[in-house]
Protein backbone atom coordinates (compact mmCIF):
# COMPACT_ATOMS: atom_id res chain seq x y z
CA UNK A 1 0.00 0.00 0.00
CA UNK A 2 1.49 3.26 -1.09
CA UNK A 3 0.36 6.34 0.76
CA UNK A 4 1.09 9.88 -0.13
CA UNK A 5 2.87 11.88 2.52
CA UNK A 6 -0.24 13.86 3.45
CA UNK A 7 -2.24 10.68 3.93
CA UNK A 8 0.50 9.03 5.91
CA UNK A 9 0.76 11.98 8.27
CA UNK A 10 -2.97 12.03 8.79
CA UNK A 11 -2.99 8.32 9.52
CA UNK A 12 -0.25 8.62 12.11
CA UNK A 13 -2.08 11.50 13.79
CA UNK A 14 -5.27 9.43 13.93
CA UNK A 15 -3.40 6.53 15.45
CA UNK A 16 -1.96 8.79 18.13
CA UNK A 17 -5.41 10.09 19.04
CA UNK A 18 -6.75 6.56 19.20
CA UNK A 19 -4.00 5.37 21.54
CA UNK A 20 -4.42 8.42 23.77
CA UNK A 21 -8.19 7.95 23.96
CA UNK A 22 -7.75 4.24 24.77
CA UNK A 23 -5.36 5.01 27.64
CA UNK A 24 -7.66 7.63 29.10
CA UNK A 25 -10.65 5.30 28.81
CA UNK A 26 -8.73 2.48 30.48
CA UNK A 27 -7.68 4.66 33.41
CA UNK A 28 -11.14 6.12 33.83
CA UNK A 29 -12.88 2.75 33.75
CA UNK A 30 -10.39 1.17 36.12
CA UNK A 31 -10.85 3.94 38.67
CA UNK A 32 -13.24 3.34 41.50
CA UNK A 33 -15.61 6.23 40.92
CA UNK A 34 -17.70 5.59 43.93
CA UNK A 35 -14.80 5.83 46.31
CA UNK A 36 -13.30 8.75 44.43
CA UNK A 37 -16.50 10.70 44.82
CA UNK A 38 -16.66 9.79 48.49
CA UNK A 39 -13.08 11.00 49.05
CA UNK A 40 -12.97 14.09 46.82
CA UNK A 41 -16.47 15.27 46.09
CA UNK A 42 -18.66 15.36 49.15
CA UNK A 43 -21.17 18.06 48.38
CA UNK A 44 -21.93 18.68 52.04
CA UNK A 45 -18.26 19.50 52.70
CA UNK A 46 -18.11 21.69 49.62
CA UNK A 47 -21.16 23.55 50.82
CA UNK A 48 -19.71 23.94 54.29
CA UNK A 49 -16.61 25.69 52.89
CA UNK A 50 -18.63 28.40 51.21
CA UNK A 51 -18.58 31.30 51.38
CA UNK A 52 -15.47 31.44 53.57
CA UNK A 53 -13.21 29.89 50.97
CA UNK A 54 -14.02 32.82 48.70
CA UNK A 55 -14.57 35.82 50.95
CA UNK A 56 -11.72 35.00 53.33
CA UNK A 57 -9.26 32.48 51.88
CA UNK A 58 -9.29 33.54 48.24
CA UNK A 59 -9.29 37.18 49.25
CA UNK A 60 -6.26 36.67 51.51
CA UNK A 61 -4.41 34.70 48.87
CA UNK A 62 -4.94 37.55 46.43
CA UNK A 63 -3.88 40.14 48.99
CA UNK A 64 -0.70 38.24 49.91
CA UNK A 65 0.16 37.68 46.29
CA UNK A 66 -0.43 41.27 45.23
CA UNK A 67 1.51 42.60 48.21
CA UNK A 68 4.48 40.30 47.58
CA UNK A 69 4.37 41.05 43.86
CA UNK A 70 4.28 44.81 44.42
CA UNK A 71 7.17 44.66 46.87
CA UNK A 72 9.13 42.35 44.57
CA UNK A 73 8.42 44.52 41.53
CA UNK A 74 9.67 47.69 43.19
CA UNK A 75 12.75 46.04 44.66
CA UNK A 76 13.34 44.10 41.45
CA UNK A 77 13.22 47.29 39.38
CA UNK A 78 15.69 48.98 41.70
CA UNK A 79 17.99 45.94 41.49
CA UNK A 80 17.70 45.90 37.70
CA UNK A 81 18.69 49.56 37.53
CA UNK A 82 21.59 48.87 39.88
CA UNK A 83 22.73 46.00 37.68
CA UNK A 84 22.78 48.40 34.72
CA UNK A 85 24.39 51.23 36.66
CA UNK A 86 27.72 52.72 35.71
CA UNK A 87 28.65 52.68 39.40
CA UNK A 88 30.48 49.40 39.94
CA UNK A 89 29.57 48.88 43.64
CA UNK A 90 25.87 49.15 42.76
CA UNK A 91 26.37 46.38 40.23
CA UNK A 92 28.23 44.21 42.72
CA UNK A 93 25.58 44.62 45.41
CA UNK A 94 22.76 43.86 42.99
CA UNK A 95 24.54 40.83 41.54
CA UNK A 96 25.32 39.45 44.99
CA UNK A 97 21.72 39.95 46.07
CA UNK A 98 20.31 38.25 42.99
CA UNK A 99 22.66 35.27 43.26
CA UNK A 100 21.96 34.88 46.96
CA UNK A 101 18.18 35.07 46.86
CA UNK A 102 17.79 32.95 43.78
CA UNK A 103 19.70 30.25 45.60
CA UNK A 104 17.57 30.22 48.75
CA UNK A 105 14.22 28.44 49.03
CA UNK A 106 11.36 30.91 49.34
CA UNK A 107 10.19 29.01 52.41
CA UNK A 108 13.45 29.68 54.21
CA UNK A 109 13.44 33.39 53.42
CA UNK A 110 9.85 33.75 54.57
CA UNK A 111 10.71 31.94 57.76
CA UNK A 112 13.71 34.19 58.39
CA UNK A 113 11.63 37.30 57.80
CA UNK A 114 8.76 36.05 59.96
CA UNK A 115 10.87 34.93 62.89
CA UNK A 116 14.31 36.47 62.39
CA UNK A 117 13.33 40.12 62.07
CA UNK A 118 11.23 40.18 65.27
CA UNK A 119 14.24 38.74 67.13
CA UNK A 120 16.68 41.16 65.53
CA UNK A 121 14.47 44.20 66.09
CA UNK A 122 12.32 43.41 69.11
CA UNK A 123 10.82 46.92 69.40
CA UNK A 124 9.86 47.19 65.79
CA UNK A 125 7.21 45.46 63.79
CA UNK A 126 6.89 44.86 60.09
CA UNK A 127 3.97 47.09 59.09
CA UNK A 128 0.85 45.36 57.85
CA UNK A 129 1.07 42.29 60.09
CA UNK A 130 1.01 38.98 58.22
CA UNK A 131 0.45 40.80 54.93
CA UNK A 132 3.60 42.83 55.44
CA UNK A 133 5.57 39.77 56.46
CA UNK A 134 4.43 37.78 53.44
CA UNK A 135 5.02 40.75 51.15
CA UNK A 136 8.62 41.04 52.30
CA UNK A 137 9.27 37.35 52.90
CA UNK A 138 8.14 36.28 49.44
CA UNK A 139 8.91 39.59 47.74
CA UNK A 140 12.61 39.38 48.60
CA UNK A 141 12.94 36.17 46.60
CA UNK A 142 10.61 37.28 43.81
CA UNK A 143 12.62 40.50 43.45
CA UNK A 144 15.74 38.51 42.58
CA UNK A 145 13.98 36.78 39.70
CA UNK A 146 12.13 39.88 38.56
CA UNK A 147 15.33 41.93 38.57
CA UNK A 148 16.86 39.70 35.93
CA UNK A 149 13.68 39.75 33.85
CA UNK A 150 13.37 43.52 34.07
CA UNK A 151 17.03 44.04 33.28
CA UNK A 152 16.62 41.97 30.12
CA UNK A 153 13.53 44.02 29.27
CA UNK A 154 15.36 47.32 29.71
CA UNK A 155 18.22 46.09 27.57
CA UNK A 156 15.77 45.03 24.88
CA UNK A 157 14.62 48.65 24.45
CA UNK A 158 16.61 50.09 21.53
CA UNK A 159 19.49 52.36 22.49
CA UNK A 160 18.06 55.17 20.37
CA UNK A 161 15.19 55.56 22.82
CA UNK A 162 17.46 56.66 25.63
CA UNK A 163 19.43 58.86 23.25
CA UNK A 164 16.28 60.57 21.97
CA UNK A 165 15.05 61.13 25.52
CA UNK A 166 18.38 62.54 26.70
CA UNK A 167 18.58 64.72 23.62
CA UNK A 168 15.28 66.29 24.64
CA UNK A 169 16.92 67.28 27.91
CA UNK A 170 15.59 64.51 30.14
CA UNK A 171 17.81 63.34 32.96
CA UNK A 172 18.83 59.68 33.02
CA UNK A 173 16.26 58.88 35.69
CA UNK A 174 13.44 60.80 34.00
CA UNK A 175 14.21 59.05 30.73
CA UNK A 176 14.25 55.68 32.48
CA UNK A 177 10.95 56.37 34.22
CA UNK A 178 8.95 57.85 31.38
CA UNK A 179 10.49 56.28 28.27
CA UNK A 180 12.55 53.16 28.91
CA UNK A 181 10.83 51.36 31.79
CA UNK A 182 7.30 51.65 30.35
CA UNK A 183 8.56 50.00 27.16
CA UNK A 184 10.56 47.43 29.09
CA UNK A 185 7.47 46.42 31.05
CA UNK A 186 5.50 45.81 27.89
CA UNK A 187 8.27 43.43 26.85
CA UNK A 188 8.39 41.58 30.16
CA UNK A 189 4.66 41.20 30.77
CA UNK A 190 4.66 37.47 29.92
CA UNK A 191 7.55 36.49 32.24
CA UNK A 192 6.24 38.77 34.99
CA UNK A 193 2.87 37.05 34.72
CA UNK A 194 4.64 33.79 35.29
CA UNK A 195 6.18 35.26 38.41
CA UNK A 196 2.76 36.43 39.57
CA UNK A 197 1.29 32.96 39.09
CA UNK A 198 4.22 31.38 40.95
CA UNK A 199 3.69 33.86 43.78
CA UNK A 200 -0.01 33.02 43.89
CA UNK A 201 0.96 29.47 44.71
CA UNK A 202 3.86 30.43 46.98
CA UNK A 203 1.48 32.53 49.05
CA UNK A 204 0.38 29.20 50.54
CA UNK A 205 3.62 29.36 52.55
CA UNK A 206 1.96 32.05 54.68
CA UNK A 207 0.87 29.23 57.03
CA UNK A 208 4.47 29.28 58.32
CA UNK A 209 3.75 32.57 60.03
CA UNK A 210 0.86 31.15 61.95
CA UNK A 211 -2.24 32.49 60.26
CA UNK A 212 -5.53 32.99 62.08
CA UNK A 213 -9.13 32.56 60.96
CA UNK A 214 -8.96 36.08 59.55
CA UNK A 215 -5.63 35.74 57.77
CA UNK A 216 -6.03 32.19 56.46
CA UNK A 217 -5.43 31.57 52.76
CA UNK A 218 -6.61 28.89 50.37
CA UNK A 219 -4.18 26.02 50.95
CA UNK A 220 -4.22 26.38 54.72
CA UNK A 221 -7.99 26.40 54.74
CA UNK A 222 -8.03 23.33 52.53
CA UNK A 223 -5.67 21.46 54.84
CA UNK A 224 -7.47 22.52 58.03
CA UNK A 225 -10.80 21.42 56.64
CA UNK A 226 -9.20 18.20 55.46
CA UNK A 227 -8.03 17.47 58.98
CA UNK A 228 -11.41 18.33 60.49
CA UNK A 229 -13.40 16.24 58.08
CA UNK A 230 -10.90 13.47 57.45
CA UNK A 231 -11.82 13.83 53.80
CA UNK A 232 -9.94 15.14 50.74
CA UNK A 233 -12.79 17.16 49.27
CA UNK A 234 -11.31 20.45 50.60
CA UNK A 235 -8.24 19.88 48.44
CA UNK A 236 -10.38 19.79 45.33
CA UNK A 237 -12.11 22.97 46.43
CA UNK A 238 -8.76 24.62 47.14
CA UNK A 239 -7.40 23.62 43.75
CA UNK A 240 -10.40 24.98 41.90
CA UNK A 241 -10.21 28.18 43.91
CA UNK A 242 -6.63 28.76 42.72
CA UNK A 243 -7.82 28.32 39.16
CA UNK A 244 -10.34 31.09 39.85
CA UNK A 245 -7.33 33.38 40.19
CA UNK A 246 -4.89 32.08 37.63
CA UNK A 247 -7.18 31.46 34.67
CA UNK A 248 -8.67 34.98 34.53
CA UNK A 249 -5.16 36.33 35.08
CA UNK A 250 -3.95 34.70 31.90
CA UNK A 251 -6.91 36.21 30.07
CA UNK A 252 -6.22 39.71 31.36
CA UNK A 253 -2.61 39.44 30.32
CA UNK A 254 -3.52 38.27 26.84
CA UNK A 255 -5.73 41.36 26.53
CA UNK A 256 -2.96 43.63 27.76
CA UNK A 257 -0.56 42.19 25.25
CA UNK A 258 -3.04 42.74 22.43
CA UNK A 259 -3.61 46.32 23.51
CA UNK A 260 0.09 47.07 23.72
CA UNK A 261 0.76 45.46 20.36
CA UNK A 262 -0.73 48.55 18.78
CA UNK A 263 1.68 50.87 20.55
CA UNK A 264 4.84 49.05 19.76
Amino acid sequence: MKLRRRQRERLILLLQYAVFAAVVAAVLSAADWGRLREAFFRTDIIASMFPRVIVVALRNTVVYTVAAFAFGLILGTVLALMRLSRVAPYRWVATAYIELFRGLPALLVLFLVGYGIPIAFPDREIPGGVIGQVAIGLGLTAAAYMAETIRAGIQAVPKGQMEAARTLGMSYLTAMRTIIIPQAFRIVIPPLTNELILLTKDSSLAYLLGVTAQTIEITKMGRDTLNDMVNATPLLVAGLTYLLITLPLSQVVRRLELRYAKAR
Binding site: A164, A165, T167, L168, I179, R264
Partner: protein, 265 residues
Protein backbone atom coordinates in the same frame (compact mmCIF):
# COMPACT_ATOMS: atom_id res chain seq x y z
CA UNK B 1 22.40 80.10 26.89
CA UNK B 2 22.69 83.69 25.77
CA UNK B 3 23.33 83.92 22.08
CA UNK B 4 25.58 86.87 21.45
CA UNK B 5 25.77 87.67 17.77
CA UNK B 6 29.56 87.85 17.56
CA UNK B 7 29.83 84.36 18.94
CA UNK B 8 29.25 81.45 16.63
CA UNK B 9 26.32 79.15 17.43
CA UNK B 10 28.72 76.21 17.52
CA UNK B 11 32.45 76.50 18.04
CA UNK B 12 34.52 73.32 17.81
CA UNK B 13 38.24 73.42 18.54
CA UNK B 14 40.73 70.58 18.34
CA UNK B 15 38.07 67.89 18.74
CA UNK B 16 39.39 64.37 19.08
CA UNK B 17 37.34 61.28 19.74
CA UNK B 18 38.59 57.75 20.18
CA UNK B 19 36.68 54.55 20.77
CA UNK B 20 39.17 52.45 22.65
CA UNK B 21 42.32 52.51 20.56
CA UNK B 22 40.62 53.65 17.37
CA UNK B 23 40.73 57.39 16.76
CA UNK B 24 37.56 58.35 14.92
CA UNK B 25 37.88 62.16 15.01
CA UNK B 26 41.39 63.45 14.50
CA UNK B 27 41.27 67.10 15.36
CA UNK B 28 38.20 68.93 14.10
CA UNK B 29 37.93 72.74 14.02
CA UNK B 30 34.59 74.05 12.91
CA UNK B 31 32.39 77.08 13.50
CA UNK B 32 28.72 77.28 12.67
CA UNK B 33 27.20 80.76 12.66
CA UNK B 34 23.76 81.73 13.88
CA UNK B 35 21.17 80.86 11.28
CA UNK B 36 23.74 79.05 9.20
CA UNK B 37 22.95 75.73 7.54
CA UNK B 38 25.99 73.46 7.33
CA UNK B 39 25.75 70.17 5.48
CA UNK B 40 28.32 67.54 6.41
CA UNK B 41 29.05 64.98 3.71
CA UNK B 42 31.56 62.21 3.46
CA UNK B 43 31.93 58.47 3.10
CA UNK B 44 30.49 56.03 5.60
CA UNK B 45 32.69 55.67 8.67
CA UNK B 46 34.37 59.04 8.23
CA UNK B 47 33.11 60.24 11.61
CA UNK B 48 30.15 62.45 10.62
CA UNK B 49 27.75 60.96 13.16
CA UNK B 50 30.40 61.03 15.86
CA UNK B 51 31.04 64.71 15.19
CA UNK B 52 27.34 65.50 15.47
CA UNK B 53 26.97 63.38 18.59
CA UNK B 54 29.87 65.15 20.26
CA UNK B 55 28.08 68.48 19.87
CA UNK B 56 25.27 67.39 22.21
CA UNK B 57 27.53 65.10 24.18
CA UNK B 58 25.89 61.81 23.22
CA UNK B 59 29.57 60.99 22.79
CA UNK B 60 32.11 62.40 25.16
CA UNK B 61 35.04 63.98 23.33
CA UNK B 62 38.46 62.56 24.12
CA UNK B 63 40.06 65.97 23.70
CA UNK B 64 39.11 69.43 22.50
CA UNK B 65 36.53 72.07 23.28
CA UNK B 66 33.00 72.58 22.04
CA UNK B 67 30.96 75.67 22.74
CA UNK B 68 27.29 75.90 21.90
CA UNK B 69 25.77 79.37 22.13
CA UNK B 70 28.77 80.49 24.14
CA UNK B 71 28.42 77.70 26.71
CA UNK B 72 31.26 75.23 26.86
CA UNK B 73 29.52 71.85 26.72
CA UNK B 74 32.80 70.04 27.29
CA UNK B 75 33.18 71.73 30.69
CA UNK B 76 32.87 68.91 33.22
CA UNK B 77 30.77 71.14 35.49
CA UNK B 78 28.21 72.05 32.85
CA UNK B 79 24.61 70.89 33.36
CA UNK B 80 24.37 68.69 30.31
CA UNK B 81 20.58 68.33 30.52
CA UNK B 82 20.19 72.08 30.29
CA UNK B 83 22.56 72.28 27.34
CA UNK B 84 20.82 69.47 25.47
CA UNK B 85 17.43 71.17 25.77
CA UNK B 86 18.67 73.86 23.46
CA UNK B 87 19.97 71.42 20.86
CA UNK B 88 17.45 69.50 18.79
CA UNK B 89 18.55 66.26 17.21
CA UNK B 90 16.93 64.18 14.50
CA UNK B 91 18.11 60.61 14.02
CA UNK B 92 18.27 58.35 11.02
CA UNK B 93 16.08 55.82 12.86
CA UNK B 94 13.54 58.50 13.99
CA UNK B 95 13.57 57.16 17.58
CA UNK B 96 10.00 58.17 18.30
CA UNK B 97 8.66 56.81 21.57
CA UNK B 98 6.55 53.86 20.38
CA UNK B 99 4.46 53.60 23.54
CA UNK B 100 3.23 57.18 23.28
CA UNK B 101 0.83 58.80 20.83
CA UNK B 102 2.16 61.39 18.43
CA UNK B 103 0.86 64.17 20.65
CA UNK B 104 2.42 62.66 23.77
CA UNK B 105 5.71 62.23 21.92
CA UNK B 106 5.69 65.99 21.48
CA UNK B 107 4.56 66.89 24.99
CA UNK B 108 6.41 64.46 27.25
CA UNK B 109 9.67 66.38 27.36
CA UNK B 110 7.96 69.76 27.38
CA UNK B 111 6.13 68.71 30.52
CA UNK B 112 8.86 66.75 32.27
CA UNK B 113 11.78 68.98 31.36
CA UNK B 114 10.37 72.44 30.71
CA UNK B 115 7.57 71.96 33.28
CA UNK B 116 4.95 73.30 30.90
CA UNK B 117 1.37 72.45 31.81
CA UNK B 118 -0.57 70.03 29.62
CA UNK B 119 -2.64 72.68 27.87
CA UNK B 120 0.37 74.79 27.01
CA UNK B 121 2.44 71.83 25.90
CA UNK B 122 -0.35 70.54 23.67
CA UNK B 123 -0.87 73.94 22.10
CA UNK B 124 2.82 74.14 21.20
CA UNK B 125 2.83 70.51 20.04
CA UNK B 126 -0.09 71.17 17.69
CA UNK B 127 1.60 74.26 16.27
CA UNK B 128 4.58 72.15 15.28
CA UNK B 129 2.48 69.23 14.07
CA UNK B 130 0.67 71.66 11.81
CA UNK B 131 3.99 72.97 10.58
CA UNK B 132 5.08 69.48 9.48
CA UNK B 133 1.60 68.81 8.07
CA UNK B 134 0.57 66.06 10.49
CA UNK B 135 -1.99 67.70 12.73
CA UNK B 136 -4.54 65.01 11.91
CA UNK B 137 -2.19 62.29 13.21
CA UNK B 138 -1.93 63.51 16.79
CA UNK B 139 -3.79 60.50 18.21
CA UNK B 140 -1.88 57.92 16.18
CA UNK B 141 0.93 55.76 17.49
CA UNK B 142 4.28 55.92 15.68
CA UNK B 143 3.88 52.37 14.35
CA UNK B 144 0.79 53.53 12.45
CA UNK B 145 2.76 56.14 10.49
CA UNK B 146 4.94 55.88 7.41
CA UNK B 147 8.66 56.48 7.81
CA UNK B 148 8.39 59.93 6.32
CA UNK B 149 5.59 60.84 8.70
CA UNK B 150 7.55 59.48 11.65
CA UNK B 151 10.55 61.58 10.76
CA UNK B 152 8.43 64.70 10.45
CA UNK B 153 6.94 63.96 13.88
CA UNK B 154 10.48 63.57 15.20
CA UNK B 155 11.38 66.99 13.81
CA UNK B 156 8.25 68.48 15.36
CA UNK B 157 9.14 66.83 18.65
CA UNK B 158 12.54 68.52 18.65
CA UNK B 159 11.05 71.87 17.67
CA UNK B 160 8.58 71.70 20.54
CA UNK B 161 11.51 72.24 22.89
CA UNK B 162 12.32 75.54 21.15
CA UNK B 163 15.94 74.58 20.39
CA UNK B 164 18.50 77.17 19.28
CA UNK B 165 19.99 74.79 16.78
CA UNK B 166 19.15 71.48 15.17
CA UNK B 167 21.36 68.51 14.37
CA UNK B 168 20.24 66.09 11.66
CA UNK B 169 22.00 62.76 11.25
CA UNK B 170 21.05 61.34 7.86
CA UNK B 171 17.37 62.12 8.44
CA UNK B 172 16.23 60.65 5.12
CA UNK B 173 18.59 57.70 4.78
CA UNK B 174 16.14 55.08 6.00
CA UNK B 175 13.18 56.41 4.01
CA UNK B 176 11.66 55.07 0.84
CA UNK B 177 12.62 57.45 -1.99
CA UNK B 178 9.11 58.77 -2.48
CA UNK B 179 8.93 59.86 1.18
CA UNK B 180 12.20 61.78 1.22
CA UNK B 181 10.75 64.93 -0.35
CA UNK B 182 8.29 65.72 2.45
CA UNK B 183 11.00 65.53 5.09
CA UNK B 184 13.42 67.66 3.08
CA UNK B 185 10.65 70.21 2.48
CA UNK B 186 10.16 70.58 6.23
CA UNK B 187 13.91 71.01 6.72
CA UNK B 188 14.06 73.56 3.94
CA UNK B 189 11.28 75.53 5.63
CA UNK B 190 13.24 75.46 8.88
CA UNK B 191 16.34 76.74 7.16
CA UNK B 192 14.38 79.57 5.56
CA UNK B 193 13.07 80.56 8.97
CA UNK B 194 16.63 81.06 10.13
CA UNK B 195 17.22 77.91 12.19
CA UNK B 196 20.86 77.05 12.78
CA UNK B 197 21.32 73.57 11.33
CA UNK B 198 24.04 70.97 11.05
CA UNK B 199 22.91 68.30 8.62
CA UNK B 200 24.70 65.05 7.83
CA UNK B 201 23.22 63.97 4.53
CA UNK B 202 23.74 62.21 1.24
CA UNK B 203 21.08 64.36 -0.43
CA UNK B 204 23.35 66.43 -2.64
CA UNK B 205 20.50 68.40 -4.15
CA UNK B 206 19.41 69.48 -0.71
CA UNK B 207 22.98 70.40 0.19
CA UNK B 208 23.39 72.46 -2.96
CA UNK B 209 20.06 74.27 -2.64
CA UNK B 210 19.79 74.80 1.11
CA UNK B 211 23.24 74.72 2.69
CA UNK B 212 25.21 77.89 3.30
CA UNK B 213 28.30 75.75 3.58
CA UNK B 214 29.25 72.17 2.80
CA UNK B 215 31.83 70.33 4.89
CA UNK B 216 33.45 67.25 3.40
CA UNK B 217 34.83 64.79 5.94
CA UNK B 218 37.02 61.78 5.35
CA UNK B 219 39.03 59.60 7.69
CA UNK B 220 38.09 61.53 10.83
CA UNK B 221 39.01 64.96 9.56
CA UNK B 222 37.60 67.83 7.52
CA UNK B 223 39.10 67.63 4.05
CA UNK B 224 37.54 70.76 2.62
CA UNK B 225 34.65 73.11 3.18
CA UNK B 226 33.03 76.07 1.50
CA UNK B 227 29.92 77.23 -0.31
CA UNK B 228 28.07 74.32 -1.92
CA UNK B 229 28.70 75.65 -5.40
CA UNK B 230 32.43 75.33 -4.79
CA UNK B 231 32.69 72.12 -2.82
CA UNK B 232 30.13 70.21 -4.87
CA UNK B 233 30.88 71.63 -8.29
CA UNK B 234 34.59 72.43 -8.15
CA UNK B 235 36.04 70.26 -5.40
CA UNK B 236 39.71 71.02 -4.82
CA UNK B 237 40.65 67.67 -3.33
CA UNK B 238 40.88 64.37 -5.08
CA UNK B 239 39.14 62.59 -2.17
CA UNK B 240 36.17 64.94 -2.47
CA UNK B 241 36.00 64.37 -6.19
CA UNK B 242 36.05 60.62 -5.96
CA UNK B 243 33.47 60.65 -3.17
CA UNK B 244 31.14 62.88 -5.17
CA UNK B 245 31.48 60.77 -8.25
CA UNK B 246 30.57 57.68 -6.25
CA UNK B 247 27.54 59.36 -4.65
CA UNK B 248 26.29 60.95 -7.83
CA UNK B 249 26.86 58.01 -10.11
CA UNK B 250 26.93 54.91 -7.95
CA UNK B 251 26.99 52.49 -10.91
CA UNK B 252 30.35 53.88 -12.07
CA UNK B 253 32.60 53.00 -9.21
CA UNK B 254 35.61 54.90 -10.50
CA UNK B 255 34.02 57.46 -12.78
CA UNK B 256 36.11 60.48 -13.80
CA UNK B 257 35.95 62.99 -11.00
CA UNK B 258 35.68 66.01 -13.25
CA UNK B 259 32.38 64.79 -14.62
CA UNK B 260 30.96 64.72 -11.13
CA UNK B 261 31.48 68.42 -10.82
CA UNK B 262 29.67 69.11 -14.08
CA UNK B 263 26.77 66.92 -13.10
CA UNK B 264 26.21 68.91 -9.99
CA UNK B 265 26.99 72.38 -11.20
Amino acid sequence: MSARPHQPAIEIRGLHKSFGRIEVLKGIDLDVGHGEVVCVIGPSGSGKSTLLRCVNLLEEPTAGRIRVGGVEVTDPDVDIDTVRRGIGMVFQAFNLFPHLTVLDNLTVAQRRVLRRDRTGAERIAREHLARVGLLEKEAAYPAQLSGGQQQRVAIARSLSMAPQLMLFDEPTSSLDPELVGDVLAVMRGLAEDGMTMMVVTHEMTFARDVADRVVFMDGGGIVEQGPPAEVLSRPRHERTRSFLSRVLDPSHVAGPAAEAGQLIG
